[in-house]
């Protein structure tokens, strides 16, 4: 009798804790990376440059996308320069309320003309924003670093 009870308790006990841990970790990873990054990033072809070694910004930056056609896009919505500057002013006021500087990152398509970038840069500088980041696409591993900025 005693032997039978012991056999029954040994056979079906499979410890699933480690597997469930790993699966939860994977789910949390996909939840955080895929949704957040993809929401904020508009698909653009950025200039392929190495960039600088910069620390990550202390606060999440305001991402301003400039498409190949020269439109300003923030969080999926298209803005005119005037309405974009209203948005920048709001974000700037919000940052100042928290005693922080507004971080601006501009993601401009490499095929775009510099006119919209220049208009934005002038407007930002006139509003006292002297620091911005320009996003680049890191060159593929193994590709030659040289080459250039020749236009097409």
């Amino acid at each position: 009798m005693r032997r039978n009870a012991q056999q029954r308790s040994h056979l079906p006990n499979i410890d699933l804790t480690a597997m469930v841990d790993v699966v939860f970790l994977l789910i949390v990873f996909f939840l955080t990376t895929s949704s957040l990054v993809e929401q904020s990033r508009t698909p653009l072809e950025l200039a392929e440059e190495q960039g600088e070694d910069l620390p990550p910004p202390p606060t999440p930056p305001l991402l301003i996308n400039i498409t190949a056609g020269g439109s300003y896009v923030v969080e999926g919505d298209e803005f005119s320069l005037d309405s974009l500057l209203v948005r920048v002013a709001q974000e700037d006021a919000e940052s100042k309320r928290r005693n922080q500087a507004l971080e601006v990152t501009v993601r401009a398509d490499h095929r775009a003309a510099m006119a919209p970038v220049n208009q934005l840069a002038t407007a930002l500088a006139e509003r006292g924003i002297r620091s911005w980041r320009l996003a680049t696409q890191l060159p593929a591993a193994g590709a030659n670093g040289g080459g250039g900025g020749g236009g097409s």
Binding site: V20, A47, A108, D109, A135
Partner: protein
């Protein structure tokens, strides 16, 4: 008085059915595996920003250390003083010979492409300029 054997008590207490939970977890995992798209890491260039309010002819302080990015017939040209260079490598070589303490200004004309301006800013960093400032042309 509980007359059930001890081994039986233990087994009924600890067994909870995890099948439904594991099913849902696997479905979530498969959904995220299929729906996610890989976002490649991005680099950043951080030039200082300055608005040029002066007339073009009066911007004497910008002339010695200014890289102007121009577009001519669809080709990007980098102009440093009287010298013109057609690509980034030549620009890095040219900038490496300039004094570094004064910093460098970069200005891209409105019809130049973003790729040309980014190449000029990267060239300035590659030539080991610490202070790089982007100055948009007067609007």
């Amino acid at each position: 008085m509980n007359f059930t054997p001890k081994s039986k008590q233990r087994s009924t207490l600890l067994r909870s059915d995890l099948t439904a939970m594991i099913d849902i977890i696997f479905q979530l995992l498969i959904f995220f595996l299929l729906s996610t798209t890989y976002a490649p890491p991005e680099g950043h260039l951080e030039p200082a920003l300055r608005a040029d309010h002066q007339e073009a002819g009066a911007a004497a302080d910008l002339v010695p250390q200014l890289v102007e990015v121009q577009s001519r017939g669809g080709r990007t040209v980098f102009v440093v003083g009287q010298v013109e260079v057609p690509d980034k490598d030549s620009l890095v070589a040219l900038l490496s010979t300039l004094p570094k303490q004064g910093g460098l200004f970069v200005r891209a004309q409105n019809n130049a492409q973003v790729s040309g301006a980014m190449a000029a800013l990267q060239a300035a960093r590659d030539a080991e300029f610490d202070k790089v400032t982007y100055v948009p042309p007067p609007q």
